[in-house]
């Protein structure tokens, strides 16, 4: 059956439907959520999402710059595909 064949990279994303995924986006943003839908543009709908925004604050001394992360949660989110860099299974540390 055509649904089962994995031929193109987007077919790999299809395997992650209804699973939690990790999405790296432009603007130092990362999303972790459950994939409910996607298309060839990498537009996506994710459920139970946690967004992590990384902010780097440089200072005059290289040793004193700080990295901060801001986390936000959304119950359901449409993500426009032109912002997406990569999609992967979630990395658990």
């Amino acid at each position: 059956m055509a649904t089962g064949a994995v031929e193109q990279p987007l077919d790999l994303v299809r395997l992650s439907l209804d699973e939690r995924i990790y999405v790296k986006m432009r603007g130092d943003r990362e999303l972790r959520g459950k994939l409910h839908g996607y298309d060839q543009h990498m537009n996506m709908v994710l459920g139970e999402v946690e967004e992590t925004i990384t902010i780097v604050e440089p200072s005059e001394q290289p040793t004193e710059g700080s990295i901060q992360t801001v986390k936000k949660n959304y119950e359901m989110l449409f993500v426009r595909g032109d912002n997406v860099i990569l999609v992967a299974p979630p990395m658990r540390s």
Binding site: V45, G47, D82
Partner: protein
């Protein structure tokens, strides 16, 4: 055309559109088109002090390409239906 159909099912729902310039616009979804341009009614900008020039805005047309996210109520989405549609859509030759 998957997400065009998806957004058509959300017409009438309260949504928040997050733009790429970090602006957050709350409103009721009126219509959407094939480019995922969005029309909203009863618009309220999240941080009104930062964006006073849109304080009197009632309805808006938002170009699809400037959207980063659309925050939607989870209750408005039939996830099983959406997953099924995504599976079928990926099969079609593009």
């Amino acid at each position: 055309m998957l997400f065009y159909s998806f957004f058509k099912t959300l017409v009438g729902q309260p949504v928040v559109v997050e733009l790429k310039n970090d602006m957050l616009i709350q409103g009721t979804l009126v219509s959407v088109d094939q480019f995922l341009n969005i029309k909203l009614d009863g618009v309220r900008v999240e941080d009104e002090r930062k964006y006073p020039h849109v304080a009197s805005l009632k309805n808006s047309f938002i170009r699809g390409s400037v959207v980063r996210y659309v925050h939607i109520p989870a209750t408005a989405v039939d996830t099983a239906l959406l997953q099924d549609a995504a599976r079928k859509e990926s099969q079609q030759p593009k």
